[in-house]
Structure formats: structure tokens, C-alpha cells
């Protein structure tokens, strides 16, 4: 953009100049997995009965898959059941970390199918991995998203980028 910023907001740094110092980089799958490996809060997105639904959940990364808990019979549980054995619902899972003050951050998008964890052995393994529900209460259903595509982006100050 060649337009000059119009007046106002003299006391804060010129956003246009600030913007020019930021770079956007695409992140590789390995870097994405590293960024999200600690778990925390992510957002599950899927096509519900009335369009896309996005909800925050507490997740863990377990054996390369996103795992979280919800309540059996909840709207999310019902929405994500195809009713067809072996058929699984396509979902997206987004995780980000954004530093508002520095205007830097990254986001990772995972696309894959949602799998209901029904077997006792698998449930026990996930429970042991410490996948905690959030919020609390009766959330005994484990859902697992096996990534089929992982993409990510990072915005940061140009002088911090690897390329300089």
C-alpha cells in the first residue's frame, strides 16, 4: 500500500511502518507439531447442523494425534457421529499463540477425521496420558483427530526471522 496513514493516533507507533517490519512464514509440519506439542487450548471446527461450529477445548498431542474430551451425548458428540461404521467426520483443529503487544504470533491448522475413542484399552491409554477435560464435569468421551494435513503460519518481526 502506498497510501499514507491519515492523522490520528500520534501517540502509538505508526502501524503502517510497524507492518512493514513483519514477515509471514509458512511453517512445516514438523515445526507445527513442535509448537503444539505442549497441549493446551485449541479450537475444534466442524460443519454442524447450522453451519460451521468452532469451540475451544483443552487438548493434548498424543502419538501424533490431537486428543480431547467432551460429554457423551453432547451436541458435539452427536454432530461428529456419521452414523456409519468406519466413516469419520472431517474436522479442523486450530491452535495459536498470539502476542498482542509485539504483534507477533503463530497459528497451526490441522485437518483430519474425528475418531470416537470407544475401546477401553485406548481410553485407558489416553487417560494415562493426562488428557483432562475442560470444562470439568461429565466429559468421559475421548475424541481423537488424526491429522491428514498440517499447515501453519508465523508472523514476526523481520529482524527475528531466520532469513534476517
Amino acid at each position: 500500500m502506498t497510501d499514507h496513514a491519515h492523522g490520528g493516533a500520534h501517540e502509538i507507533p505508526d502501524p503502517e511502518r510497524e507492518t512493514q517490519t513483519r514477515t509471514v512464514e509458512e511453517l512445516g509440519g514438523t515445526e507445527c507439531l513442535r509448537l503444539i506439542s505442549e497441549g493446551g487450548v485449541g479450537r475444534i471446527a466442524y460443519t454442524g447442523r447450522f453451519g460451521p461450529v468452532v469451540l475451544p477445548v483443552n487438548y493434548k498431542l498424543h502419538d501424533g494425534a490431537i486428543v480431547f474430551r467432551t460429554a457423551p451425548g453432547s451436541p458435539m458428540d452427536e454432530d461428529l457421529r456419521t452414523g456409519i461404521s468406519e466413516a469419520e467426520y472431517l474436522v479442523a483443529f486450530e491452535i495459536d499463540e498470539i502476542d498482542m503487544a509485539a504483534r507477533e504470533g503463530w497459528s497451526v491448522l490441522i485437518q483430519g477425521s474425528a475418531h470416537h475413542v470407544d475401546s477401553e484399552a485406548e481410553r485407558a491409554s489416553l487417560a494415562q496420558a493426562g488428557v483432562e477435560p475442560w470444562p470439568g464435569g461429565e466429559r468421559e468421551l475421548f475424541l481423537r483427530i488424526v491429522p491428514s494435513r498440517i499447515t501453519g503460519r508465523r508472523i514476526r518481526r523481520a529482524d527475528r526471522s531466520a532469513s534476517g
Binding site: G8, T19, G40, A92, E94, R103, P133, P135
Partner: protein
């Protein structure tokens, strides 16, 4: 509390709108023809009842031009306290063409964070706005830690 302390509590529309104005980052989501869902963070503002954000050529803009159903989600969560809220707005998105509106949005706090060639504004007109508050996880932390009674943890 004797009921399920973990159950999400629905929020009314006014509360949802007030909460949306308290944050600047949200996530937009849409699905393509194959049912593949995309969800990406955006820097947004509320413009009346609408959600507005800036974008350049890419998935978001294509989806808006194709008139796909959009959803927008914003939240503020406290993982430490395991409490917070989340608001979901669903509707149709359109690229802002009205130059007066574009000019107004240009002067809003929607400055891009990185160079954005040929960017334009997209607005989401809500058909449905829902929200929920996630109560504290049962544990040693009390509600009073959040703020004055009746205050919204944001």
C-alpha cells in the same frame, strides 16, 4: 453448586456482543465443497452487529466471494483457572464494496500485522449468535478470584 459444575452456561445475545468487543482476535471458519473445514485466526472489530476483518487474496476471501456459510468464534479462556467464555457467530460473509464503509474501516484498528497486498475488508452479517460461559473446573479455586460478583471474566 449441586448441578453439574462443568456444564457450559448459555449467554444471551447482548452479553455475547459485549464480550466480542472486549477482544481483538477471533477465528473464522468455513467448509469447502468437499466438507473440508478451515479455521484461521483474524484480527477483527465489531461494526454495529457485524464482524469485520481485513484479508488479502487467499482462502478467506475466496470463501467470502463464493458466499459460503461463515462462522466466527472468539473466546477468552483462562487455562489456569479453566474458566472463560466463547461466542460463536454464524452468517454470510461479503466483501465490503461501499467506499464509505471501506474508508471507515481503514480508520479502525484493523491495521494489518504484516504487509498485505491488495487487502480488502470482509464483513460477516450474523444470522445467529450464541455464546457460553465455561464455569470453573471443580477444584481449589473459587469464583471470587475472577472479579466482583456478576462481573464477566474477560
Amino acid at each position: 453448586m449441586t448441578h453439574d459444575a462443568g456444564a457450559a452456561q448459555p449467554l444471551d445475545r447482548d452479553t455475547c456482543l459485549r464480550l466480542l468487543r472486549s477482544v481483538v482476535i477471533g477465528r473464522v471458519a468455513w467448509a469447502d465443497d468437499d466438507g473440508r473445514v478451515v479455521v484461521l485466526p483474524v484480527n477483527f472489530i465489531t461494526d454495529g452487529d457485524d464482524i469485520a476483518f481485513r484479508t488479502s487474496e487467499g482462502g478467506k476471501l475466496s470463501a467470502a466471494r463464493e458466499g459460503r456459510l461463515f462462522s466466527f468464534e472468539a473466546d477468552d479462556v483462562e487455562p489456569g483457572l479453566r474458566t472463560g467464555w466463547s461466542v460463536l457467530v454464524s452468517g454470510t460473509a461479503q466483501v465490503v464494496a461501499d467506499s464509505a464503509v471501506v474508508d471507515r474501516l481503514e480508520h479502525s484498528p484493523l491495521a494489518p500485522w504484516s504487509p498485505m497486498p491488495a487487502s480488502c475488508f470482509v464483513r460477516l452479517r450474523p444470522d445467529q449468535t450464541t455464546g457460553r460461559r465455561l464455569p470453573l473446573h471443580p477444584g481449589g479455586v473459587t469464583r471470587e478470584r475472577i472479579g466482583p460478583e456478576g462481573d464477566i471474566p474477560c
